[in-house]
């Protein structure tokens, strides 16, 4: 570990994994934590439990704001374990001087998104700190959900599964990057920030054989696939041309030198579905507003265990690696 925590330690990729395993897992080690799922499954498998903290700049961005993000983030983690989000806590740390009207706007977004999930905030906390102690506002939400479908786990993926995504990828990361200070670009792109429970519920209601689900937040689809390859000790092979990327996102990636698969998402998830049900799952996902590009992107093999391989249409293979470092634009 480095002597100081760098921004790269929060990237959802390699440095982030190192920090969590060498500091937090080391200290808190227990059987539930070590399963390394999106949400912990507790109480005899009946409840899913997860927490997430939110800091984003700018606070209001195309397609969502920090409030919507704070509800989606935690509820999506619960949904990924096949659970219906039920009860949330909400803690905010606010910088002195922050406009009340903005706070109200954020809270309204939270309220609206809670309704989408059928969840309620049942406890909260507010701290106000001197100017400069936080960047405007930080929000933490913690949630409990009721498990509707048991046995979903990132540790159980096998060669009987196919890999599916629910929509085109990378919209959130691209939107935020374009909106940040120092990048003089404008685009019509919107964040994909969205509650995923309705999609998950539709799959569960149709009795789709879901092995695993994970929302592709920081580190993007690439991080999820690499985590799965390691956790389930498998090789995941993805066809590069199958990965759905919108023209806007791929254009931004071209200009800045990014790969869409490493960009963050807030309403995009990856699924491992039993082969016989994969087409049906895709059909269901396609019925949702942003799901027109839901598709099977890859399969599970054993040619390079714990690695993700990207196949090109011209017959070459390469690794799709866990993203590392801070996201930085190309030089020339």
């Amino acid at each position: 570990m480095n002597k100081n925590i760098s921004l790269a330690c929060g990237n959802g990729g390699e440095e982030n994994n190192e920090l969590t395993s060498k500091v937090f897992y080391k200290a808190f080690k227990n059987e539930i934590l070590q399963r390394n799922e999106d949400a912990a499954i507790i109480h005899n498998g009946e409840l899913a439990f997860s927490t997430d903290s939110f800091t984003v700049s700018p606070l209001f961005f195309s397609g969502a704001d920090i409030g919507k993000l704070a509800i989606c983030g935690t509820c999506n983690d619960l949904a990924m374990m096949g659970a219906q989000p039920k009860y949330l806590t909400c803690s905010v740390i606010i910088e002195e001087g922050f406009e009340t009207s903005k706070l109200e706007k954020i809270v309204q977004s939270m309220k609206k998104e809670l309704e989408v999930n059928g969840a309620i905030v049942v406890s909260g906390d507010t701290k106000v700190v001197p100017r400069g102690s936080v960047d405007k506002i930080f929000i933490n939400t913690t949630g409990v959900g009721e498990v509707l479908k048991h046995g979903i786990s990132s540790n159980n993926i096998t060669e009987d599964d196919l890999i599916v995504v629910n929509r085109d990828i990378g919209c959130h990361g691209a939107t935020i990057f374009v909106a940040r200070e120092g990048i003089e670009m404008s685009s019509a792109l919107e964040s994909d920030c969205e509650s995923l429970f309705p999609q998950v519920k539709a799959l569960i209601d149709a009795d789709i054989k879901i092995t695993a689900m994970r929302d592709a937040t920081r580190g993007g689809v690439s991080a999820v696939l690499n985590e799965w390859a390691k956790q389930s000790n498998i090789c995941i092979e993805v066809d590069e041309d199958k990965i759905p990327v919108s023209d806007e996102v791929s254009g931004i990636c071209e200009i800045l030198g990014f790969e869409a698969s490493t960009l963050a998402n807030e309403g995009t998830f990856v699924l491992a579905i039993k082969k016989e049900d994969a087409d049906k799952a895709v059909e269901i996902l396609k019925t949702f507003a942003n799901g027109s590009r839901a598709t099977i992107i890859g399969k599970v093999t054993n040619i390079h265990l714990q690695k993700v391989i990207l196949n090109s249409t011209w017959g070459t293979k390469r690794f799709l690696d866990t993203p590392s470092g801070e996201l930085l634009p190309r030089i020339c």
Binding site: E184, G257, H304, R318, D321, G325, I331
Partner: protein, 377 residues
């Protein structure tokens, strides 16, 4: 239908076209008398070659040597230490481009400096420095300028604007380098015991968008080494390799341009004039892994000294020479005498998250590209 961004790259990534070139190259390569080693000078090409798995499409008798054309990779620790020290000065905002903030110097990288409280920022365009300077009138913005011929004009435009608008709080630390001098040094560095075996060059093409293809004329003429100025998409690279192979089987040795959609013989004269106006050749620049290369660096002309952070802060900038890490073989890799896989610390002590050698630092470095994309042939 108007032109869309994807029109600029989609067809140049077409699987069928790539496969067709692979077939042509395979057939032509049978007629080669000797194996050929192609040096792709530019890090952008290294990235393309590894990302798109191009070596997997080539016959055994065509190999790549990964050259030194990554502006971040070649930055010696001495210069990074300058940036680090400058960023730690009171009321200074140090601004640079992308990956540069990750490269470790003797005390750490600019990212580390930022974690310790320094105001370090990266920009996509150097012109963004103006906004930063306007927003922070009580601070001095130092632009740590890096890159080859491609990025130098952007620094020149920034300086031009600073002068014309009378902006008083932007200074420059210049680390611009030029490609032909390095190519020459690489050819000359081989001797009978340690030959570098460069048989052909893929010429850096964004460099040529600025400087024209003319800068590579000397290589076929004086060194008998053919050059094809190549674009950065996989179809470009495959076509360029095919052009080089054809030169060999037809006994030609020429400068050719594959990247005709952007490169011409003379280049961008206006950009060249602007660079000429503000910059002059420095006597030498130390390239990480390669050492001092005469005339390969640029510095501000004497009349613009008042904008030169290196001269204004000379009392605090460290001067001592720093040796490259003993186990690192980046120098040999850049000269084409070794591949990353031959390095004992590759992927163990030296990784993208904790780079020891220059080639592991930027995604355009040969070692980083090998590490990231693997070797799945």
């Amino acid at each position: 239908m108007g032109l869309e961004l994807k029109n600029l790259y989609d067809n140049f990534r077409d699987g069928d076209t790539i496969k067709a070139y692979a077939k042509i190259i395979k057939e032509d390569a049978k007629k080669l008398k000797n194996p050929i080693n192609i040096m792709e000078v530019c890090g952008g090409h290294t990235h393309t070659i590894m990302k798109y798995g191009i070596p997997q499409l080539l016959p055994q008798n065509i190999k790549f040597i990964h050259g030194p054309g990554c502006p971040v990779c070649i930055m010696p620790k001495e210069r990074i230490d300058h940036a680090y020290v400058l960023s730690m000065q009171e009321n200074v905002i140090l601004v640079t481009l992308g990956d540069m903030i990750k490269v470790p110097g003797s005390n750490g990288s600019l990212q580390d400096a930022r974690a310790k409280g320094a105001d370090v920022r990266f920009v996509y365009s150097p012109m963004d420095c103006i906004k930063i300077a306007n927003d922070n009138p009580d601070k001095t913005v130092i632009f740590f300028a890096i890159g080859f011929e491609t990025t130098t004009p952007m620094t020149a435009v920034l300086l031009d604007t600073v002068i014309k608008k009378g902006i008083s709080n932007i200074l420059f630390h210049i680390n611009h380098v030029t490609v032909p001098e390095a190519m020459r040094a690489l050819i000359d560095s081989g001797d009978d015991n340690a030959k570098n075996n460069i048989d052909a060059f893929l010429g850096p093409s964004h460099v040529s968008v600025i400087s024209g293809s003319k800068i590579y004329e000397e290589f076929p003429r004086d060194y008998n080494i053919p050059v094809v100025v190549a674009g950065f998409e996989p179809v470009d690279v495959m076509q360029s390799i095919s052009m080089l192979v054809k030169q060999f089987i037809q006994n030609r040795c020429e400068l050719e341009v594959e990247y005709k959609r952007l490169v011409n013989y003379d280049g961008n004269i206006k950009a060249q004039d602007l660079v000429q106006m503000y910059f002059q050749k420095a006597s030498a620049f130390k390239w990480r892994g390669l050492g001092n290369i005469a005339n390969s660096g640029l510095k501000l002309r004497n009349e613009y000294k008042e904008y030169d952070a290196e001269s204004i802060f000379k009392n605090v900038l460290p001067l001592e020479e720093i040796q490259d890490h003993k186990l690192c073989i980046c120098g040999d890799i850049l000269r084409g005498m070794a591949t990353p896989l031959e390095c004992t610390i590759f992927g163990t002590a030296c990784k993208p998250t904790s780079p020891i050698g220059s080639c592991m630092v930027s995604s355009e470095g040969a070692c980083a590209a090998y590490y990231k994309y693997g070797n799945l042939i």
